[in-house]
Symmetry: C2
Amino acid sequence: MATDMDKYYKAVDDLSSSSKERLGKAIEIQSVSADNVQAEMKKMADFLVTELKAVGADAETKELNDKKLPHVVVARYPANPDSSKRTILIYGHYDVQPKGEGWKHEPFKMKEEDGKLFGRGSTDDKGPVIAWINVIEAYKKSGVQFPVNVRFCFEGMEESGSTGLPEFLDSAEGKQLFDKVDAGCISDNYWLGTKKPCLTYGLRGINYFSITVSGPPKQLHSGIFGGSVYEPLTDLIILLSKLVDSQGKILVPGIEKIIEPLTDEEKKLYDGIDYSLKDFNDSIGPKSDCGIYNDPKQILMARWRYPSLSIHGISGAYSGDQTVTSIPPNVTGKFSIRTVPNMTNDRVTELVKNYLNVEFEKLNSKNHLTVKLNDKGEWWRTDPQAQNFKAAVSATRDIWEQVIPDLTREGGSIPVTMDIQKGLGDKSLMLLPIGTTNDGAHGPDENIPTKNYINGIKVLGAYLHHFATQI
Amino acid sequence: MATDMDKYYKAVDDLSSSSKERLGKAIEIQSVSADNVQAEMKKMADFLVTELKAVGADAETKELNDKKLPHVVVARYPANPDSSKRTILIYGHYDVQPKGEGWKHEPFKMKEEDGKLFGRGSTDDKGPVIAWINVIEAYKKSGVQFPVNVRFCFEGMEESGSTGLPEFLDSAEGKQLFDKVDAGCISDNYWLGTKKPCLTYGLRGINYFSITVSGPPKQLHSGIFGGSVYEPLTDLIILLSKLVDSQGKILVPGIEKIIEPLTDEEKKLYDGIDYSLKDFNDSIGPKSDCGIYNDPKQILMARWRYPSLSIHGISGAYSGDQTVTSIPPNVTGKFSIRTVPNMTNDRVTELVKNYLNVEFEKLNSKNHLTVKLNDKGEWWRTDPQAQNFKAAVSATRDIWEQVIPDLTREGGSIPVTMDIQKGLGDKSLMLLPIGTTNDGAHGPDENIPTKNYINGIKVLGAYLHHFATQI
């Protein structure tokens, strides 16, 4: 006899055309937050409200403090929550990246080809957002009782820094979203590769610095003044050279001490991960060989659980192709540190500033140094053994032929994750990706494999089921 | 009784209106070599030929190999040289810098105001070029016999790198210019300050390098790849930091050994030079204080007789104001070394390349390094005690109230000087400036003080006289 979940999966399959159609409609709306064409952003938010209401959710749009910003779509399902059931908060975003260059397909017209659904937003993040709506629809069609209460928060500014969302989440209205919530789930990242599902439990944070060295009041001729003045670019280069060595080792004293030590338990998390040196090299480019490590585990640890420091560039000095010979009077170097537990933004900033000031003192230069923190984002790392994750592991195994998903982290930041975690407090938050690393998010010909989209609907539905039925 | 030279000086004074008018006509022709409007360049060359012929010289224009380049004006005076007299080669240039921004005056319409003659080219180098023609006119008017044979070489590409001139000077036609010449004189630089004349006996050379470090085949995201790849910009910054210290000391091993030691005799040349720390600071800007040395002699030596190394910029990395977080795949740093006796271009290049390759090896990086010499120019240094200089010292004393001109060098390069010196072989070449450091050559409101222009004509004429009559 078919189980409830079998009925649900069958409903997902039966509805697959309708699910693709729904995604197609979403892709046609050009909700590019960087452009912020208000009519398109509103159209997209209204579309979501309509679709959510159609499946029986209670849905509405909420203004942000800055009323010109795209509204947040807030919804709950069932419309009348069942207080005997667990409650899950689900975040997604309905805005997309600008079209950009290089498309072979139409960016804003979904097309299925070679088993993939092409279109801007197909994987980032309209695919997952629409998938959640499809989950409700499939549960209804299957006749199986919806296992949990869900709250939806779909924002329209994620690709533009989630402006306004933290304030909204912190408002009385926003806090209602988190009231009596048992866990959170975000489907807005990707599998590590293309074949094996994963669940993500950590992201690195970032401290972005600029250091400015200034001296002469104007640009000087190096023939006339070279050798007789303190050159700001010389000092800047010396300071930048003291930040990190060629092997990627951060040279700022004190950083090492605030990195959480690697435990045997954590080390084990890397054991089964489906990742090879070839995967790493392939992700950089054909025949590339620029990696520091050969061991895939070391590569992943360097990316996920250790900090890194990258120098990004220098402004104020000549950056063209000519043989310009001037001495620039005022130059700024930029670098960022990707942070991990237990590095706090403040402590990292303090260590960097102190170190650079001490090193600059040693130069005995008449130039002036300013060290500035330009931007910051905290790391996020949660317990991958939480019930929330266990439910997703079971769901993944159910759908993807008993494959146990890799437990992964990411090297970059998804700032909104921290904001959602803040709202959740000590409740578990999980990133549950349904697309793959090759989907071309942000690039041309963005797509999601049809199988990932449809199985994604199944996994998300099964996750809710397992979360509800866990002891 | 008035001496011959008194008669000459009186003639210069009598002709001062006509001399200024001639300069005014020259300034009106927009012979900007960077624009190379052929009609204007031809007009200017033809104007010089006409003026030279009008005072009795044998003058013509000569095509360069590239016939589109402005022609060189070649002339001799007297038209029938007197083989019993000494012969002097005189170089100047009739092209000017582009107008640029910020003029209060009309750039191509000479105006006399506050004792200065304003207009593009007034001091660089139409003023001195026309002054030489005025010298001939004044000698004729005074009835005094012209003391020497002169050969003129006035080019039209100096502000654009003297393209084509070296080949011309090296051709059979060009070599005739130097045939039986006893000395050379170039009036195309400036006094060290505004009050005291100088004669210039040296220029620094330049080796301009670019070092490129490349690695990954494309730009990488520092969140995803930071810590797991060799970053080209990290390596480049480390290499650049090993070139020079904050105090201006060049760190390339071996350079120190090829710098000519300072002798007591050379040291004495700096004794009377009219230059103060205030002059130095003022030349940089109001209230500026970015100098390494307080002793004016040390400042001048650092500028003139010691090499310097300046880093000019980096291309290939982000140079804007945003908080961009990418890892650039291919970056190029640019720096130049100002060279002095006895550093040869080849030896400096060899030392730099070897050093950087060794330092790069030490990094143990998978990135790739290329060190390239982009441009070079040799230093020039001649004997300031030569008869050529002694004649100019006497001339300067005659005109400028017995002031003994400072013997100076310059920190920058004037590449054509080397080309002229090459043609002269072991004959003395001298730079005899008539304008001042504040004339604004290359900038807006370029000018030459009227007194410098008129006294310049006197000094140049007296120099020919003294050179002719020296024992």
